[in-house]
Symmetry: C2
Subunit: 254 residues, 2 copies
DNA sequence: CGATTTGTTGACTGGTTTCAACAGTGGTGG
DNA sequence: CCACCACTGTTGAAACCAGTCAACAAATCG
């Protein structure tokens, strides 16, 4: 199944026809190599994206040259929905590994959203979800120490992986170097290294290879990072019945 | 003019009829006194809100008892739009001063959004705006020092005030104590006090009374906090013409 | 006017950064 | 296949920023 549809079906019922409508928006695919820029802050935008394969990330560069990473995108995630409201990108996005994106021009997407309020509602909900997750991240970054903050980061990475494969194994493949993680959390790479080893010492995780770790005690990791699983609490029933029905009624009304 | 409409008209053309449709959603008004809870994380929700008067804020309490403030709401801001997707509140909201809210039940709101894609698009855009602002806040909190971070906070407060009155004076009324600001930025109250005085020493701001300050050098303040005015860059023309038109066409099509 | 809350100041502590040197790893080309 | 090189992660020492604690001052409220 297409990763985008797989992700959506985690929290919303979507018919085969609707899935096709969504996928029809993505008229182009493109490969990116590790480190390649997808777009840069300020550039004029005419498409949005979904990740087919690989890791991508959004970031900003500060006046002093340091980098703040805003978000990491895995297979199935949507990139650049904000291009619907800003013609110019508000952040920069690059590839964190070799990968592949599907591109959807904005115009047909706008029409599709207008014509299909149910799908529109799903995208709306997806957007709210990222918003709530962002608030959790602010909390983690602003109020937790480096050790806890890193635990939060890893918990989130696991949870997001599980969205794509429920039976995701306890090995977590993380093709992100420690400078990268540091720039997510507002820490220094050196300190991330220390906290990483502290998690290993405490028996919470184990290193399998350079780019992958094994989670030994997932529950403890989540507790350290005070991680709330917002996906689980997303009220899909309500969303489907009330919001979806309201939209569907109205579109068949007129 | 109603503060909610005044805020929206800052970045979207809205007809008198549409404004009335929106305002009709708010069937109740209620007064809150300083410190009173509007709702608490986990509580079942059946309405969303807009601020008529006073200051409100969203926050979370961490396991160690510390508080992270997620957002501050002024007159015209919307509270609890996420209740459309979660039946239970994901954060807590309280009054930061005496104030007044207008309440809108969710059901009619859903129907209105489904039936009027133009208004729906406006709300969608409003949501994207808060999302982009959140990313800026993460950057400020995670990567800037306390001095810069405070400058960011004040810049944002000014900008948001100006959304309601373009001719807003250089005096900024801030009925928020320093512990409150500290909890926004993930700092200690003591340290906020020190950075505040540093801004005063440097001639950037001046204290008028306990609860209000005067901005002496607004541009410098923004520069210190690396503040980007996202409202200014919101592409209203594109939003109005393309997205609005697409929605309007489709609703008159069928 | 006294009581409570809020802001200020100083000394101390602790977490995090920075710098520098080094080790391990992977990749590349000879 | 090996030698070399670049990149990434590790470790220690020192500096720095921010937190904590405590005492006090100032403002606000009843």
């Amino acid at each position: 199944m297409h990763p985008f549809i797989r992700k959506i079906s985690n929290f919303a019922d979507i018919s085969a026809g609707e899935a096709d409508m969504l996928l029809d928006l993505f008229v182009t695919e493109r490969d990116y190599s590790d480190g390649e820029a997808v777009f840069t802050e300020g550039e004029e935008q005419t498409t949005f994206f979904t990740v087919l394969e690989g890791w991508f990330y959004a970031y900003a560069i500060l006046p002093d040259g340091s980098r703040q990473i805003h978000d990491i995108y895995h297979a199935g995630d949507v990139i650049g929905l904000d291009h619907l409201s800003w013609s110019q990108a508000t952040t920069s996005v690059s590839a964190a590994s070799n990968g592949r994106l599907a591109l959807a021009p904005l115009e047909p997407a706008r029409r599709m959203m207008a014509g299909n309020p149910h799908l529109s509602a799903i995208l709306y909900s997806l957007h709210m979800l990222t918003n709530v997750l962002l608030l959790d991240r602010i909390t983690a970054v602003a109020r937790l120490g480096a050790y806890e903050s890193l635990a939060y980061f890893l918990s989130d990475a696991i949870t997001r992986r599980k969205m794509i494969r429920a039976d995701y194994p306890s090995e977590l493949y993380l093709p992100l170097n420690q400078k990268f993680i540091a720039d997510c959390l507002g820490l220094s790479a050196v300190h991330v290294s220390r906290q990483f080893n502290k998690l290993i010492e405490n028996g919470v995780i184990r290193r399998l290879s350079r780019a992958s770790i094994q989670i030994l005690d997932e529950e403890r990791l989540r507790k350290i990072g005070d991680y709330h699983d917002r996906y689980a609490n997303l009220d899909t029933a309500r969303f489907e019945t009330e919001l979806g029905r309201a939209f569907q009624e109205s579109s068949s009304d007129s």
